[in-house]
């Protein structure tokens, strides 16, 4: 086989694998949907204690880093915006620029990135390790569906934690912009505040929260699926963790794009 043929073959092979993987992902989502509906009919069977544990782990424990990152993001955005807006003498629009981009895009996205690195990776590692130590097998023989037992608590926790984190992240980001506006552009604080309130709306705010809920589902589902795909050795748990992060980021960006198009078409 010539070198060119091999290249073509490798590309084809990789594409085929990616396709199979996507099919796997959608199958997993399908199975999970069934489990969720079964769980909703029997709320007593949901592992509430684990759910609260993950809310604490993925929500409360992630709050400081989320706030710091979003605050820095606001500062960066503020600087970038200030330099450009000063050129055309429309300094006050910095409030619009920062407020809208944080709420619509960067708040949910930065929170999702932090959560992918923290929660997504740890979900994959946790389930992968449980698989290696036969705990997943043990669950099945004890009549617990591994999905209900391991995925649902994480999913519920993330669905609560991520939008809440996004709210805090949004506030921190806007404060970041505010600091730049007031210190660098010497804008009056009250003017900046009024401009921000005028620029943002409940719809914009809600669209960001919807995004973050979708990201929460992606991070949890991908993390858990990669964990279940781990084989019976420690290295494969490492690979599962890496792959959970990469795959989640990929699907987050895709979902972000789709949602942005949708919201734009709906006029938000």
């Amino acid at each position: 086989m010539s070198k060119q043929e091999r290249i073509v073959e490798n590309i084809g092979d990789a594409a085929w694998q990616a396709m199979l993987d996507t099919v796997d992902l959608f199958c997993f989502v399908g199975e999970l949907t069934i489990t969720i509906f079964t769980a909703l009919r029997q709320p007593r069977k949901v592992r509430w204690r684990e759910t609260f544990y993950y809310m604490d782990q993925c929500g409360c424990k992630a709050l400081p880093i989320t706030i710091i990152i979003c605050l820095l993001m606001g500062l960066i955005l503020g600087f970038q915006g200030a330099v450009q807006l000063r050129k055309v003498g429309t300094d006050i629009f910095l409030a619009d620029f920062v407020g809208v981009s944080i709420l619509k895009e960067l708040g949910p996205l930065m929170v999702a990135m932090v959560a992918t690195g923290r929660a997504g990776a740890s979900f994959a590692a946790e389930i992968g390790t449980m698989k290696v130590s036969e705990e997943v097998d043990a669950l099945e023989t004890m009549g617990c569906s591994p999905h209900r037992f391991l995925v649902i608590p994480k999913l519920l926790a993330m669905l609560v934690a991520m939008p809440l984190l996004t709210i805090f992240g949004n506030i921190a980001g806007i404060i970041g912009g505010f600091i730049v506006g007031v210190s660098m552009l010497k804008l009056p604080p009250v003017a900046y505040y009024n401009r921000t309130v005028a620029a943002i709306s409940p719809e914009i705010f809600a669209s960001g929260l919807i995004k973050s809920a979708v990201f929460a589902v992606i991070i949890t589902v991908v993390g858990c699926m990669r964990g279940f795909q781990a084989e019976n050795d420690a290295q494969s748990v490492g690979r599962a963790t890496t792959s959970a992060v990469v795959t989640a980021i990929f699907w987050i960006v895709i979902a972000d794009w789709v949602l942005t198009m949708m919201f734009t078409m709906m006029g938000y």
């Binding site: 449980m130 036969e134 043990a138 004890m142």
Partner: protein
């Protein structure tokens, strides 16, 4: 139930992972009330065979019948009913790290029964007592030793008082005294509760002590090379590899003396 009735029937099972065939054409039966031991070198597929028997994996070919019902073809809900009737102890205990020992033992009770919290707590206390872990109910699995983890796993497998217990390597990785303790514990349980036991093991001492019948797997042939009573096999088996396997320990001892 009739004493001679077969509780497990494995016929023509070929199994493995992906394209890798580990077991080929396995046939055997386990009778009610006996202690049945699966032997063989490391990596010859003992755990794999056990997982086929409890319906965790689908065999490539063949069938596994437990309590007269095909576990391979059973639907999810049928399998759920079947699984309540047997307990499984895994090679490393497979306790859930995020729960205390008591919660681990309580889990099958919560899942399968409608017992009240107080009833469950009572059963959990009894079962932990039986494996001599009475005071350790509030410990996490990471805070106890390997042998204790195995015993806790046994307590969890017994939570529903099953009539059939699967036990993957009860004594592997334990010192001889602890392992002998575990053997006698198994014997006591079997006498008290009339349980049928399927044990994976390569500890010769325990096999001679507890086994009613043994099958020996070989990684090279991927099948059963011998089956019968352990002492009879050791003395009368035609296959010298089997005789060596069953006397290995004694030979080593003789060399030392």
């Amino acid at each position: 139930m009739d004493k001679s009735e077969n509780i497990i029937e494995v016929s023509g099972v070929t199994a493995g992972y992906g394209n890798n065939v580990v077991l080929k054409d396995i046939d055997f039966t386990v009778k009610h009330g006996e202690i049945f031991v699966i032997m063989g070198g490391s990596g010859c597929g003992k755990s794999t065979l056990l997982k086929q028997m409890i319906g965790l994996y689908r065999p490539f070919a063949g069938s596994v019948t437990i309590f007269g019902q095909d576990i391979v073809e059973a639907t999810l809900s049928e399998r759920r009913v079947m699984m309540q009737k047997f307990g499984v102890t895994y090679q490393d205990g497979a306790l859930f790290g995020s729960m205390t020992l008591a919660e681990n033992v309580a889990l099958p009770l919560e899942e399968y029964t409608d017992k009240s919290v107080a009833e469950i707590a009572q059963i959990v206390r009894d079962k932990l007592q039986q494996v001599e872990l009475g005071e350790f109910g509030d410990y996490m699995p990471s805070e106890i030793s390997g042998g204790m983890r195995k015993r806790a796993g046994l307590a969890r497998a017994m939570a529903l008082s099953p009539s059939l217990l699967f036990f993957d390597e009860p004594s592997a990785g334990l010192d001889p005294i602890t392992s002998a303790d575990l053997d006698s514990l198994i014997l006591v349980l079997q006498r008290e509760m009339k349980t049928t036991l399927v044990i994976v093991s390569h500890e010769l001492d325990s096999i001679y002590t507890i086994a009613d019948r043994v099958i020996i797997l070989n990684a090279a042939t991927k099948g059963i090379v011998a089956s019968g009573k352990p002492r009879e096999l050791r003395d009368n088996c035609q296959d010298s590899w089997v005789r060596d396997l069953l006397t290995r320990k004694n030979m080593k001892l003789e060399n030392k003396i």
